[in-house]
């Protein structure tokens, strides 16, 4: 699903990583800037200074902008920070991806959304009220769960989460991790990549593989930028 070789960006470098179907990989970035840059390269939003990224069998550098966008529509991306559109309520954010890419099939979307809500243990009146809130008025868990549900609602082959668990309580992290495991268990062709800032959550996530990004240059200079 993912194959990266000799990748080098402004903040980090990575010799090699391959994530086949069925894997739940963790990419550990030393800083939030590294995590963000890695996701930009992985999903083809930016091209690296050096190296190759193959996503779902396609070399991103050879694709046109519209082809890369079409490829991203087959993936699920979730981030908690800046991961939602501010002027839309949480439920509108959740439906944005599937409605944009696949049109509105209200019945199937609603059924799938109920399943996702139960997977992450977010049910009842609390969820109903929270879904009407704008992201600015939602808790970190509500934002993370909304971004996570939006990603899974498109039934992606690959789920990419960028620093999704920042600021969440252990119980809230557990619910999202268990939900992701349930999602992946539905089909052997699926894979998930969790880009983490720091490695303190690896024990909770229990990924099938772990890759560390190496900082480029002087860490002190890096941290001052």
């Amino acid at each position: 699903m993912i194959e990266i070789d000799d990748l080098e960006g402004a903040h980090f470098q990575l010799a090699h990583v391959a994530v086949p179907a069925g894997e739940m990989a963790a990419i550990v970035a030393p800083t939030a800037a590294c995590a963000r840059e890695f996701v930009d390269f992985l999903l083809g939003l930016a091209l690296p200074q050096r190296g190759t990224v193959r996503l779902l069998g396609e070399a991103l550098a050879t694709l046109t902008e519209s082809s890369r966008r079409a490829l991203r529509s087959r993936l699920g991306f979730a981030a908690q920070a800046d991961g939602l559109v501010g002027h839309l309520a949480l439920w509108e954010n959740i439906l944005l991806g599937p409605a944009y890419h696949r049109g509105c099939d209200a019945a199937s979307l609603e059924a799938r959304m109920r399943q996702l809500l139960s997977w992450c243990g977010w049910t009842g009146e609390d969820a109903r009220e929270a879904l009407l809130r704008k992201p600015d008025h939602a808790t970190p868990f509500e934002r993370a769960a909304a971004a996570w549900m939006r990603a899974l609602l498109v039934d992606p082959d690959l789920l990419v989460c960028e620093d999704l668990f920042a600021g969440l309580a252990a119980e809230e992290r557990r619910r999202l991790i268990e939900g992701s495991v349930s999602f992946q268990a539905e089909s052997p062709t699926r894979a998930a990549v969790f880009v983490l800032v720091g490695d303190r959550l690896l024990d909770e996530l229990q990924p099938t593989q772990v890759t560390y990004l190496s900082l480029r240059g002087d860490f002190r200079a890096e941290s001052q930028t």
């Binding site: 402004a10 963000r36 890419h101 930028t225």
Partner: protein, 255 residues
């Protein structure tokens, strides 16, 4: 070469900035098929609601007053008769002032708000998020705004014209000897359908131009909260130029 949070250089990063000018109009035509997507339709409706429906009553009041003042000034002020009063109202208020004032209202309120909204979305990384989930910001944000402002200006101009005729005549009937029915009869005799069609086309074109300016300023990498007053001034001045150019161009076409 500038950097976005030190991460990616623009020449190696997907570009979400509209090309500007005529190219923006061509981009809108090329992306027209995205109107079939439900979120784009919802964004378009929201823009029309913010642009036209929220300003509808204010436009109606201003239109009524403009119509009443025109008829009352010519009839009661100069004593030149109902026929001339209605002809002047048709040529000046319905033909020119309606589009001009409606465009100014649109720029002063919804256009400035939409520019700030786009700029802050970019600042908060929301455009990156849209691209990462495969949503083209030019389809989801630019297309509904350009079309939304075009439709909004068309609707506002029509409301202004309707108000200056109906509301204006009703108010003028209170302060002048000309009856409401007499004014309407005179108007129906002097009103050319071609003029209404031309003002409609002009409103659509001018509204789309305002939408393009909104997107250019909102998508600009130079946007920042500290520069909001400057952005608002630039938007206003460029919109005024667009209003004058489009109105002048149509006046030349008709002459």
């Amino acid at each position: 070469m500038s950097t976005l949070q030190g991460i990616a250089t623009p020449d190696r990063t997907e570009n979400d900035r509209p090309p500007g000018g005529l190219d923006s109009f061509l981009l809108i035509v090329a992306r027209a098929r995205d109107l079939a997507r439900p979120p784009v339709q919802a964004a378009l409706w929201q823009q029309v609601q913010r642009g036209a429906l929220d300003l509808g009553w204010l436009t109606f009041v201003i239109g009524s007053l403009a119509g009443a003042f025109t008829v009352a000034t010519i009839e009661a002020g100069f004593g030149l008769g109902a026929n001339l009063a209605v002809r002047v109202l048709t040529a000046l208020v319905l033909g020119q002032l309606a589009g001009f004032v409606s465009a100014l209202l649109l720029v002063a309120g919804p256009a400035t708000a939409a520019t700030f909204e786009l700029g802050l979305m970019r600042q908060h990384g929301e455009m990156r998020t849209l691209r990462l989930i495969g949503v083209d910001p030019r389809a989801y944000l630019m297309l509904p705004r350009v079309l939304g402002f075009a439709v909004s200006l068309l609707v506002l101009t029509f409301i202004f014209q309707l108000a200056s005729a109906v509301g204006g005549f009703a108010l003028a009937a209170l302060v002048t000897p000309i009856s409401f029915t007499q004014q309407i009869t005179t108007l129906s005799g002097s009103l050319a359908p071609g003029m209404l069609v031309m003002t409609g086309l002009r409103s659509l074109l001018l509204g789309a131009a305002i939408g393009v300016l909104v997107c250019e300023h909102g998508f600009s990498p130079a946007f920042s909260p500290a520069r909001m007053p400057q952005v608002a001034r630039q938007l206003l001045s460029r919109s005024l130029v667009a209003i004058v150019v489009v109105h002048g161009g149509f006046a030349l076409l008709l002459s």
